[in-house]
């Protein structure tokens, strides 16, 4: 019980700290933020329920006014703006990613990568594009064009999530709570 609480709190702190790291520039010149990678890791490392709770805790603190989102953003304004859909989708994406890792017996790299694609891209974009279409007054398909720009970066992020989860599974086998 204590272990659950501290892991949820520490991973919420990890998401915040990864937001302080400058944007990661990939070989193709597409920048990705380490923070969304952290959100995926909450799911793939902690499992569905704990991962979602960690992300929810993080979002609660952002809503309460802490500037924890990458770029020092925070406050209720973010939940009223066009990115609100993505913010709402984060805990659900982490849940789905963790669910995929928990339910399959594939190697962590593949399971986490698949979870990050289904959760971090599929589910997240569903919520994010819906949020953008509402806030910007565009149709769903029009808003999806805006989100497409981030797709290459997110695919790389999914692969990274798989590799990182695999590394953690090797270095701290007991700590991978999604496969405990």
């Amino acid at each position: 019980m204590e272990r659950n609480l501290t892991h949820i709190a520490l991973f919420a702190a990890l998401i915040a700290v990864l937001g302080l790291v400058p944007k990661i520039d990939l070989a193709a010149g597409v920048p990705i933020t380490a923070q969304s990678l952290g959100v995926m890791l909450c799911g793939t490392v902690l499992g569905a329920r704990r991962g979602a709770l960690a992300v929810l805790l993080f979002l609660a603190l952002v809503a309460a006014g802490l500037p924890l989102l990458s770029g020092g953003r925070g406050g209720l304004g973010l939940f009223a703006g066009p990115s609100a859909g993505f913010l709402v989708g984060f805990p659900i994406a982490a849940f789905v990613a963790g669910w995929v890792v928990e339910r399959t017996t594939l190697t962590p790299a593949i399971a986490a990568g698949a979870g990050a694609v289904i959760g971090g891209i599929g589910v997240l974009y569903l919520f994010g594009i819906t949020g953008m279409s509402i806030a910007l007054g565009k149709s769903w398909t029009e808003a999806s064009y805006l989100a497409l720009a981030f797709l290459p970066g997110d695919i790389v992020k999914a692969v990274l999530a798989g590799l990182i989860t695999q590394a953690i599974a090797r270095m701290r086998p007991g700590a991978l709570m999604s496969r405990a």
Binding site: M1, E2, R3, L5, T6, H7, I8, A9, L10, F11, A12, A13, L14, A16, V17, L18, L20, V21, P22, I24, D25, L26, A34, L37, G38, L41, V45, L57, F58, A60, L61, A63, A64, G65, L66, P67, L68, G71, R73, G74, G75, L76, G77, L78, F79, A80, G81, P82, S83, A135, L136, G137, K138, L146, L160, I164, I168, M171, R172, A175
Partner: protein, 199 residues
């Protein structure tokens, strides 16, 4: 840890957090019914006026919080210029800016402890399935306590990687950072158990 609450005291600081959030929801819902650009522009001026009532520093902080919106304003603006639907574009953008400004006003005039209180009250029904508000308070305290700890650890990891390679660390520091989080979580859990656990 610095919050986004404004140090400048305004009358809004005295309004209870729950009332502010409820009015925010009500106004947001009401704005959907307004479709005249002129009326929305007036409402926007009124909102800016509310912020200006807190003084110059307060107003500047409020305007700075709007910065994340600029790419969207640009995209929607250019979009509607292209399709020559300026009126509709103005309505969308005005509504967006008003709602975000009002939400930021709530954030700037509500202390962190008050917001946590609102969240505690909202999650109180979950107490029946075992998620007591005391756990939430402890979790919040842990997150706030550990962010500087992890940030320093990540700084050390970055320095270590940069000492060994000319390239910027990038994603390579996520593995050590996550391991640091896992180890700290285990130690904190032991410390909690040593002090009587969560009961």
């Amino acid at each position: 840890m610095l919050t986004l609450t404004s140090p400048v005291e305004t009358p809004f600081h005295l309004v209870p957090a729950g009332a502010k959030m409820a009015s925010l929801c009500a106004i947001t819902a009401g704005l959907i019914a307004v479709s005249s650009p002129v009326l929305l522009a007036l409402i926007l001026l009124g909102t800016v006026g509310l912020m200006a009532a807190g003084g110059r520093v307060f107003l500047l902080q409020g305007l700075r919080l709007l910065r994340p919106l600029w790419p969207f304003v640009l995209i929607v603006g250019v979009w509607h210029l292209w399709t020559a639907e300026l009126g509709e574009g103005a309505v969308i953008l005005l509504r967006l800016v008003i709602v975000v400004m009002l939400a930021n006003l709530v954030t700037m005039t509500t202390r962190l402890s008050e917001m946590i209180g609102v969240i505690e009250r909202l999650t109180a029904p979950l107490g029946r399935i075992g998620l007591s508000p005391r756990l939430l308070a402890l979790a919040v305290a842990l997150v706030i306590r550990f962010i500087p700890v992890l940030a320093e650890r990540v700084g050390q990891i970055r320095d270590a990687i940069r000492a060994r390679s000319p390239r910027s660390p990038g994603w390579r520091l996520v593995v050590p950072a996550t391991l640091a989080a896992l180890d700290d979580a285990d130690h904190a859990a032991e410390a909690l158990r040593a002090r009587g656990g969560l009961g």
